[in-house]
């Protein structure tokens, strides 16, 4: 089991399966608010759900409305359980706070792969189970 530390953007605990994107995510226009499924054409996560998952990605891109989209995901019970980023910018930071999603940044995301089981506890991240695939 490995333990990583990062910077707390929104505090809290979360546990879940990793969904990882090596490319930035634009929440505005790229995520279905009702289902939490990534709908951006040609995005590596297209068709995958981020609901209840630990979303691992480098940073966000696109419109600042993305913060509100995270809020909508939370209201519709399809928000990620937690988020881990390389560099959190304002869109995700504001979105994480208003939606109360435990979020940590300044983490090397190459340590994770989709399917890992991860626990976030404030700024500490434990990879409990490595993905088999």
């Amino acid at each position: 089991m490995s333990i990583l530390t990062g910077r707390v953007i929104f505090s809290g605990k979360a546990r879940g399966k990793v969904v990882k994107s090596d490319l930035p995510i634009s929440f505005f226009g790229a995520v279905d608010q009702k289902t939490g499924i990534i709908k951006e054409p040609r995005h590596p996560l297209q068709g995958q759900s981020i609901a209840g998952k630990i979303l691992v990605f480098p940073h966000a891109k696109g419109s600042t409305v993305g913060s509100y989209i995270l809020y909508a995901l939370k209201k519709n019970n399809v928000a990620p359980a937690g988020m881990i980023l390389e560099q959190c910018e304002t869109i995700v930071a504001v979105g994480a706070i208003i939606s109360e999603i435990p979020t940590v940044d300044q983490v090397a995301i190459d340590r994770f792969q989709t399917g890992d089981v991860v626990r976030i506890d404030e700024g500490e991240i434990k990879i409990e189970k490595k993905s088999d695939c």
Binding site: I9, S63, T64, V65, S67, A72, A93, I97
Partner: protein, 406 residues
Amino acid sequence: MKLTKKEQALLDGKHGLGLKKAIEILVALGQIYGAKEMVAVTSAQIAGVSYKNIGDPGLEFLRDWADQNARVHIPAFMNPAGIDRQLWRQLGFPEEFAQKQLEIIEALKRMGVRATLTCTPYHIGIVPQKGEHIAWSESSAVCYANSVLGARTNREGGPSALAAAFCGRTPRFGLHLHENRLATHRVLVNCQLKSSADFGLLGYVVGKKIGNGVPFFHGIDLPADETARIVCLKALGAAMAASGAVALYHIEDFTPEAISYGERMIKQNAAVIEIQYLEDARIVLNQQGNQIDLVTLGCPHASLEELRVIAEMIGQRQLKKPLWIATSAIVREDARANGWLEIIERAGGKVLADTCMVVAPLEEMGIKYIATNSAKAATYLPSHQAAVVRYGTTEQCVQAAINGHF
């Protein structure tokens, strides 16, 4: 980040959940950008008002925040919305859109934000002084306040500007610090700027080249007339904020910090850019064809003086195509009192308050071919509204409305 007792109390939730969320946003932004402390701000200008932009998730968030009794503690003002609250029915705005829009405005009003609904608060008497710290969020207003007025603000997002309004503070980083206001680029302007549309083109070119840098302009000839000068500076900043992310510029011997510090306002290793012609930019912004569905002016929102100039250009003539001029409700009332509104309306034009062509649901209303004198609008309209845009001077645009084609 060092917090005062009052700020810590907010963070501990002693003033309610709404304010706790607000200070959490400010602290997180401060951490991300390396702020050591907060700074008091004297006003906030809140973007993210149009339903077209923030949609149902934004409405719901604002309503929830208002329900948590979050209230502003400093003067706070709304950016334009997606409708004119008086004229939306007459102009054929969709009913459902208008209702949602009114709900957003209502939620913001409950939090104490004034429904000024303008991107040019400095045209309605909200004029921060040099050195004053503020939290504004509309990109052109930010650029004008920083550059022309010498006030200090970062480019706030909607929620962070609201958070600043609730707490009366913002993290001290970015353009709140003198060292970050130094110019990153010297821009030598070696072409003539004959109209505010040319200032828009210059802004478009420079914004594209320098992104979020800070330009120091040499060789700009500003109009001698103060009102014409303001129009040009507004167009320049708005265009740079749209094609790039410029939040501050300096003009040699003119803007407040350039006057105070001269060349000391330029970084030692600043890059040098020379601008010799604007025709490439004109070709990009001015698309082909002479068909127009709508001529639209007032991006950013028109001043009273601009309305006077447009009324004089129209005179006794009738318009063949719709002409919409966007402004604030206060300026529209002043134009009415001066008789200029009557001239524009008698010709068949409309002066829209509260909204603008960028955030109104034009695409949904079937408006496709749009002429404008705003490089900012010409930058955004093709992507935001799927529009085909013609770009020209105010006179060309008014003439196009009179002739029925561009």
